[in-house]
Symmetry: C2
Subunit: 339 residues, 2 copies
C-alpha cells in the first residue's frame, strides 16, 4: 500500500499552506470559503485521513475515553460497558475497554496504559477498594458503580435499592431470611449488605423479629450456588424462607441450588437478586430483582468526565424494584410436605 497522504500532500494539492489545511480541519478558525473548498476537495481527492497519533502528540489530547471493568465476562459489567460505549459515541468520543480480571494490579496497569496514551479521561469500575492510583492522573478519572481510589463516584444508590428488597421480603411475611453478600472489599458489596441488614434490624425493633443470616461470597454464579446449597441443607424448619442475594448471578446460582434440592421457588423459598441482567427475565422462575439504570449511569459518568472542569461530586441514581416470579408470600408453617 502507498503511504497515507498527509497535511503536506493536501496543502500542495490545494495550493495552500499546511496551516490552512489544519485550520479547515479543525473547523474553528475562519478560512475564506474559496480556500476552504479547495482544501476539502483535495482531502476527498486524496482520501486524506488525519493522523490521530500526530495530533495527540501535538495537543496531548485525544477523543478516546478509557474504561476499565473488573470482568467483562460478568453480564452486568458487559451491559454497563455497552452503555458507556453508546454514551461516549453520542458525545463524539470513542471507547477503549479493558478488563482487569478482578486483579487490582492489572487494573493499575490498564489505567497507566490509558494515561500513557493520553486518553481524554478514564472511567473505572473498580475491582476492589484498591489504593486507587499512585500515579498523578493528568486527565479526569471517574469511578463507576464501585469507587476507585478517591475519584468521584457515579453509582446506583445501593442503600436505597437494598432497602426496597428488604421491604419487599418483609412485606411478604418473611421472617427467617438469609442474605448472600458480595465481597466486603467492594463498596457496593458492603453498602447493599449494610442497608439490608439495618432495614431488617429496624423491622425487628418496631415489628416482628427477623432472623437474619449473612453469608459472604463473590458476585458470581458459583458463589451463589455454593452458599445457597449450604443454607438450604438445614432442616426445613430452620431453613430460610427467603434468600436475598447481592447480585443476579448469585441469585441465579441460588435458584439452581434450590432446584437441585427440590425446593419450590417461590412457594417454599423466595429468591431475589440485584442488577437486572438480561438473564434475570429468562431464568425459571423469572427473578425478582433491582434494576440498575445502566444507561443513565453511563451517561452521567461520561458527562462528568467531559465537563469543564470535570465533575467533582458523587452522583447517585435510584434503583427500582422489579417484581417477578421468584418471590412470593412466606410459606405457612406446617403447610409443607404436600408432595
Amino acid at each position: 500500500m502507498s503511504k497515507m497522504p498527509t497535511v503536506k500532500d493536501v496543502a500542495e494539492y490545494a495550493g495552500v499552506s499546511v496551516g490552512t489545511v489544519s485550520r479547515v480541519l479543525s473547523g474553528e478558525a475562519a478560512v475564506k470559503p474559496l480556500l476552504r473548498e479547495r482544501v476539502n476537495d483535495a482531502i476527498s481527492a486524496l482520501g486524506y485521513r488525519p493522523n490521530v497519533t500526530a495530533r495527540a502528540l501535538r495537543t496531548s489530547r485525544t477523543d478516546v475515553i478509557g474504561l476499565v471493568v473488573p470482568d467483562i465476562t460478568n453480564p452486568f459489567f458487559a451491559q454497563l460497558a455497552a452503555s458507556v460505549e453508546r454514551a461516549a459515541l453520542e458525545c463524539g468520543h470513542s471507547l477503549m475497554l479493558a478488563s482487569s480480571h478482578n486483579d487490582s494490579e492489572a487494573e493499575q496497569s490498564h489505567v497507566s496504559a490509558f494515561l500513557d496514551r493520553s486518553v481524554r479521561g478514564i472511567i473505572v469500575v473498580a475491582s476492589s477498594d484498591g489504593s486507587g492510583l499512585d500515579l498523578p492522573a493528568s486527565v479526569p478519572v471517574i469511578s463507576l458503580d464501585r469507587r476507585f481510589g478517591t475519584f468521584p463516584l457515579v453509582s446506583t444508590n445501593h442503600a436505597q435499592a437494598a432497602t426496597l428488597i428488604a421491604d419487599h421480603l418483609y412485606g411478604l411475611g418473611h421472617r427467617r431470611i438469609a442474605y448472600i453478600a458480595g465481597p466486603t472489599d467492594t463498596e457496593a458489596g458492603r453498602m447493599r449488605k449494610e442497608a439490608f441488614v439495618s432495614r431488617m434490624d429496624g423491622f425487628g425493633k418496631t415489628g416482628e423479629p427477623v432472623e437474619l443470616e449473612i453469608a459472604y461470597g463473590r458476585f458470581d454464579y458459583e458463589s451463589g450456588e455454593r452458599i445457597a446449597r449450604e443454607l438450604l441443607s438445614y432442616p426445613p424448619q430452620d431453613r430460610p424462607t427467603a434468600i436475598a442475594a447481592a447480585s443476579d448471578q448469585q441469585a441465579i446460582g441460588a435458584l439452581r441450588a434450590a432446584r437441585d434440592l427440590k425446593i419450590d421457588v417461590p412457594r417454599k423459598l423466595s429468591v431475589t437478586g440485584f442488577d437486572d441482567i438480561s438473564l434475570a427475565n429468562l431464568v425459571v422462575p423469572r427473578l425478582t430483582t433491582i434494576r440498575q439504570p445502566a444507561d443513565m449511569l453511563a451517561r452521567r459518568a461520561v458527562s462528568l468526565l467531559l465537563e469543564e472542569p470535570p465533575g467533582k461530586g458523587d452522583e447517585m441514581v435510584d434503583g427500582s424494584l422489579i417484581v417477578r416470579g421468584s418471590s412470593g408470600p412466606c410459606p405457612q408453617p406446617g403447610a409443607s410436605g404436600r408432595k
Copy 2:
C-alpha cells in the same frame, strides 16, 4: 501536576545524549554498562515513562491489538474477548476492545479508528458477512469465529461440531427434530446449519428417515424462546422430540419456552446448544452443547496476527460435545400423558 519528564530530561540528568537514552530504553543496541546504569538511575530518579504517542508517531507501530466484537453483551463474545485479552497480554501486547452492536457500519468505523491509531493488528469477529474493509489495511487483520471480508479466519470447525450434535441426537433415537438456525448472513450460522442438515440427510438415506424442520433467528435468548414457543405449540404427535439450537442463548430461550409450556426436558424434549457459555452449566436442566475452545481460538488468532509475515491461511479448531442433562432418549410414542 508538573510536566512528565522526557528523554531529554533523562539525558541531562544522566549526562548522556538522548540517543543513548533511547538505546537503553529499546534494550537492543549495545550501550556501555556504565552509561546504561547511569541512564537507568536517571529513569527511576525522575520517574520517567516513555511517551507511547511519540513513539507511535515515529515508528508508526504500537503494541496495541484492536478487537471488535459484534456485541459485548453476548456471553460467548465476552468470553472470547477475555481470552483474547489474556493471549495478547501473554505476548506483551495490550488490547483495545470495541463492540459494534451488530451494526456493520459501526464495525467499519471501529476498524478505521484502530487503523488511525496505528495498532499492531486487528482481530475482528464480524457482525455479518459485510463487504469487509474498503480501506487499505496497513496492518494485519484476522477474522475470528466469523469471517470478516477476505481476511484469514480462525474459528471452531463449525461443520464438525454440528455433526457431533446431529450424531448425538440421532443416536438417542430422535427422528422428528427441529433446528433453530442462526442468521444466514453469518458464516457460522450457515455452516452449523448446513452441516447439521446434511448429516441428518445422510442418516435419512442410509437409515431411518428423519423429519427435520428449520427455523431461522438471531443468536440471542429472545429468538430461541420465540421460535421454540412456536415449534412446541404443535399437537404433541407433530411436535419435535428434539430441538438443536445454533447457540446456547437460543437453547436457553428454548428451555424457557418448554418450561412455560410444561414440556419436560429431557423426558419429552431434548434441547442442545452451541458455545458452552458459563451459563450452560447452570440452567435447569444443564445444557448439552458444543464447547468452543475460546482460549485456543484466541491464542491462535493472536499468534497469526503477530507472526512475521502474518499468517495467511485459515485455521480450524475442533469443538467437543459436552453431554449434560438437557438431552435424552427419544420419548416412546404413547408413553405421554403420565400426569
